[in-house]
Amino acid sequence: MNNAIRTENLVKKFGRVEALRGLDLAVPEGAVYALVGPNGAGKTTIIKILMNIFGATRGRAEVLGLESTRLRGRYFSSIGYVSENQELPEWMRLDSFLAYLRPFYPSWDRKLENELVSQFDLPLDRRLRNLSRGMRMKAALASALAYHPKLIVLDEPFTGLDPLVRDELIQGLLERAEESTILISSHDLAEIESFASHIGYLEQGQLRFSEELTTLVERFREVELTFDTPPHLPKTAPNTWMHLSTSAAVIRFIESRFDAEKTATEVRNVLGEARNVAYTPMSLRSIFLAMAKAGRDPYVERAER
């Protein structure tokens, strides 16, 4: 499968601060790729480099097969970019704004525009400065979807929005962008989980992992072992186990490379026979909380060695 976005060893420094540290990212065509990570991880920085809003210090990035540094002008007619802190022409009425953008896009679809306006319940006669935050995001998204972009890039689109508006945005996004690749950065893991196909976890300017969401959810399990007598924690454990703890007759940990047979064998070998072993699937939120607490994905850590 071709990649809609690809970066190689991307480095970005702001003075002495290294915002990106040799980032290698690949977003397959057709994917809904969620870029997640804590504040200051470098999500907005990488998106701005991809959109050629500013340049990288080192490394290279390709967007739709084009070097990101060459991305300007007509190339943006196939890219829709929406950011939470984008400065829109506040003085314009929404209908004027949409009318102004139309001639820029050969593929602008008036019918789709009307559908989006109607679906998002946008007040066309209001100036952009008078729209609420949610309305502004919806207006920005409508203006970025109406020309059937091949790539949609959304930088923290859900921040500060109420659940209803989030739902509307996601619904609109999914319905109208079936032929697009979507890159979305967000804190909102619960929302991401509902529609992302791929996920990348960015922390301190480095991509800790990047994979399909189903694979990620499959490989994480909360493991709970119940013994007849209070057990002792082992002195050594596999690198893929996280947050190993004990309480009364129970040992708990998180397995980051779950495989039914292999994990069962490792559990037996390290902890002995347990009265009961339970493998519980984890939500995306639980996985990221576990990883954030651990500092890094132990599997990746081992792989890096």
Binding site: I79, Q86, W91, F104, Y105
Partner: protein, 528 residues
Amino acid sequence: MRQVLNIFLKDVRHHWRECAASIALVAAFGWNEMRGWLHDEVFGAGIGIGGLFSSRFLSGLVVVLVPVAWSLVVVRVIQGESLVGDRQFWVTRPYEWKKLLGAKVLFGLTFVNLPLLVLDVFLLAKAGFRPTDYIVGLFWMQLMIVLYFMLPVAALATVTASVVQMLLALLIIALYGIGMGLLSDQIPSSSFSDPADSLTAALFFGICLAVIWMQYARRKTNKSRLLIAGLAGVCVLILVATPYRTLVAREFPQLNLQQEPPFQLALLPAEKVDPETAPEKEEEKEVEIRLPLSISGFGAESIAAIDGFMVDLEAQDGLHWNSGWKSPGLSLFPDQKSTRIDVTLKRRAFERLRSSAVRLRLSIAFTLFHDTNRREFVTPAGVFMMKDVGLCSTESTYSRGIHCLAPLRRPKSLLISADMSMSTCPVLEGESPATHGEIARDWTRGSGSEPAEFGISPLKTVDLYLTDWNGAASRRSTGICPGTPFVLSNPEPVGRNQTVLQIDGFRLSDYRLPSPKFTIGSVSIGAR
């Protein structure tokens, strides 16, 4: 073109108020200009609250407000798609930078140049000139406005994100200008006609264009700002490191031995100063020296414009002082017998050199003119057309001279000479009638040979007043009234040279003036 028009129309919708205000001010400027022709009472306005709010004050305000309004239009329209920052929506839209720039240029041409062009055509026609005769000059004026006004304003607007930032940038530039002025005062010869001007101008336009290109094509704000700072630094370097004397020597070569000097200069005895009435003041930091000079040997149709002079003093004990090249703005005419050059020394230098006889070396850089195309003219009554000048009148002036409106530029070189005894003006109280042969002159010299001068109005004021260049202690004015005959001519430059007057045994203290009078920089000038 579609994108250019789309952006342009959006800008018109957004900035129509600024545009309307700008056009209204241009119209007000035109009205003010016409009013000036009709009511030539320049010094008539009263002062005080009433005066402040008089129409004259407001019309003066209009002249200042027009460029301010233009600046606002240019800045606002450029910053409408700000090139500074990383949050603007348009940078991730299919804007072609050339088309965006094209739309902004179109906007500037439409709302700054076009109204001005229309006004200029209207004013020319209203003043009695046929605008079609001045097409090249009219477009030249627009080009000057673009180059000298809109280009730097646009360059600054591309590296600032708001009007406040722009004002801050202008404040920094003003402080820089003051600093350059102070530095220039410290560098000998730098105030003399600046030979590095063309280099500085080329750099200036080059950097402005480069900044605009870099911002629109690449949005490299930091690099663009560095470029502007670099220009400021280079200008300082040019000011400090220009070999002024070498350039003056090249521009004004010494006359060789075979060449007959066009005029001779000799140092006259010092003018008598009564020490009782003008005592020497020890606390004064500067001392003024006056060098009275006699002139002889002038050809009948020759005129010399003194472009610069340099005074060099050398004592026998090796002490040395040099004024550097200065611009006196003097002219020498065939019947002129004397002139004088005033130089200011720091008191410390004066004290070191005053006690002994020194060697004076006065270098004079001049342009020699040949007085050509002489024709006689008798001042008509009412409004009349004077060839090579424009529409003139003796009636609308507050003084006895000829007031003219010249289309697009002042005459390149126009000399009027008259025998003052032929003046038809009534002799005023306190005046004595001039004697026969007393020649008075006025020499108007426009700069360059471009088809138009830089400015908003297409009509340039030329005031011709006869001045006695060879009078006694002070200049004496005479009048031009209907019926006064005079000779018009167009002196043309024939060469530039340098001549040196060397005097041994010069006693500095003999030529000291009692106290500094009006000074320009470190030099004061005078002629008679």
